[in-house]
């Protein structure tokens, strides 16, 4: 059995590696978007890496994650390889959804990434459903939904949390409150600036965490996941965070909805920068450990990009396959 310190080291390493991988892939994708290599929309997760990493650290491949249009980070944290993600956005056969999905439809069910979605809301209901399966099958797994503040005013939030609550489902609802839905501020979409306390309505626990503090996210999520596995029912986590890139690539970084100063202030609270300081002060890793890890990741992502760019296109003859499971 590992020592506590060893576990802590492993955890920190995993979290840092995951966050830095997400950041590196996203920045790579942003450049690829400019270069015309990405065919559809591309919503990056830059600035929010701590949420996906902090939550997924406590999940296994048997737990089911459901995500949104901004799902690259969740996919990578759940174990999708950079090359499979990049190839998907490049529209290639080797992409995680074999080119059928693109940025907003990432599927790797074999490792519990049950799909990201171009529609706001459904992931909440589907995570409840994964919880229902787990409850019926008694297999101890958990359904997890990631969604934005934009989903909070949607009926799926209300119906999904209520269903999970009344059936005591093993589910975790993670609201990534980054203050804006596209360019509509949450303060316009709701008179109530808080998300987590709404859990009370449904008779379940609600927790607010600093979404840029990966250890805080991890702590809250691992407690909620343990609770769910133990039959304690669902939890709502509100992770307060911020995207420091535009809503989607090609859009403005700021606009009528937010200021340069606001973006700059949040960049100061960059989750990777913050965690790096923490690791160094905790002395779980050294400056050179981290530098080496970063440069390894950069090379890996570069290679992944090259591999993706060289990957074959899907065979157009297969385009009509898989709409149905069975032949009529």
């Amino acid at each position: 059995m590992q020592s506590d310190a060893g576990e802590r080291f492993e955890l920190h390493r995993w979290l840092y590696r995951t966050m830095f991988t997400i950041r590196t892939v996203e920045e790579r994708l942003a450049r690829s978007f400019m270069a015309g290599l990405i065919h559809g929309a591309c919503h990056t997760y830059v600035g929010e890496e701590a949420v996906a990493a902090g939550v997924c650290a406590s999940l296994s491949e048997d737990d089911a994650v459901f995500s949104t249009h901004r799902g690259h980070g969740h996919a990578l944290a759940k174990g999708v390889s950079p090359v499979a993600l990049i190839a998907e956005l490049y529209g290639r056969e080797t992409g995680v959804s074999h080119g059928r999905g693109g940025s907003m439809h990432l599927f790797a069910p074999e490792i519990g990434l049950m799909g990201t979605s171009g529609i706001v809301g459904p992931c909440i209901l589907q995570a409840a459903g994964a919880g229902y399966s787990a409850k019926l099958l008694g297999n101890g797994s958990v359904g997890v939904a990631f969604f934005g503040d934009g989903a909070v005013g949607n009926g799926a939030f209300h119906e999904g949390l209520n269903l999970a609550a009344i059936y005591d489902l093993p589910a975790l609802f993670v609201c990534e409150n980054n203050l804006y839905a596209t360019e509509v501020p949450f303060s316009h979409a709701s008179r109530n600036p808080e998300v987590a306390p709404r859990a009370e309505n449904y008779g379940i626990p609600g927790v607010t965490v600093d979404g840029n503090d990966v250890l805080a996210v991890h702590e809250a999520a691992s407690r909620a996941i343990r609770r769910a596995r133990d039959g304690g029912g669902p939890t709502l986590i509100e992770a307060r965070t911020y995207r420091t890139r535009p809503h989607a690539e090609g859009m403005g970084l700021t606009g009528v909805y937010r200021t340069e100063e606001e973006v700059a202030a949040w960049r100061e609270k960059d989750p990777i920068k913050m965690f790096r300081s923490r690791i160094l002060s905790d002395e779980t890793m050294t400056e050179s450990d981290l530098d080496r890890m970063e440069s390894d990741i950069k090379s890996e992502v570069d290679e992944a990009e090259q591999e993706a760019a060289a990957a074959p296109w899907p065979d157009r003859g297969t385009a009509a396959r898989h709409a149905y499971r069975e032949a009529p």
């Binding site: 059928r100 529609i119 589907q126 229902y132 297999n139 009344i166 499971r325």
Partner: protein, 325 residues
Amino acid sequence: MTEKTFTEAAREALTDAMDADPTIFVVGEGAGERGGNFETTLGLYEKHGPVRLCDTPICERGFIGMCTGAAMTGTRPVVDFMFTDFILDGLGELINQTSKMQYMSNGRLKMPMVLRGCIGIGHSAATHHSGSYYPLFAHIPGFRVALPSNPADAKGLFATALQSDDPVFFMEHRQLLSLKGPVPDGEHRVPFGQAAVVREGTDATIVALTVMVHHALQVAEELSGEGVSLEVIDPRTVAPLDMETILESVRKTGRLLIVDETFMPCGIGAEISAHVTEHGFDELDAPIMRLNGAHVPTPYSPALEQAIVPDRAALARAVRGLLAE
């Protein structure tokens, strides 16, 4: 064979399937202890308990979405929707999620989900309890749509639905629920995409859906006294739609009428007609005709309700018109 009602026959398929497959669960308002609004789950709660017979709040979108997630993760949900009108709030989930998961995941996910409940006009149910809407589901890729017209098919099609890995609508016309008929004992499955020629004939083909099958048979019987020989076909599923059986019949009769209680524009009749025109044009001795309910919401008053649904007289008139062409 045992004489059973339509509802009993379908319940038999569900009972057997739930015994055999522990991953099946049923959700719906009243699907639990109450045994279903139409006794669809009677006796099953006592046997399987509240997790497999799950009473829901009134949130059709929510529980359809939940069941979609469940179907993706190893269980087999049955949504008992009472009236099809109620699941329209869940169409976003159904069309954007349920129907697309297999495709989006490149065939790695399956979607073993059954949506079952009432359709059809009758009993002055008015416009929020009488919708059919199956042409919408046939339009969307990814769904199977079963429309049983008798107890034996109710059992057989439901049994097939409960083993399908595609999402299936199993739609029960309100006027058929208490219809009795012989039902095969034990295992009985009716495959999807196999129409039934429910009456053979040579002068014209009537394709009839759900309750209209019974009208068509009666009209065929009536007109046989006048020496008219009608073939009546019940497609049984409209997605997939067994066009081969229909084309074969048209090759013989040269004349085709499609009768469907629900709306004409972009309906099942349109699809059948277009397909036959394209693939059986040379077999046609007369224009293909359609007989549908009026293109209006369902009125409540019996006086108005009757006026918007094709009855036997209208059907007989349409047949005569077709034969006169």
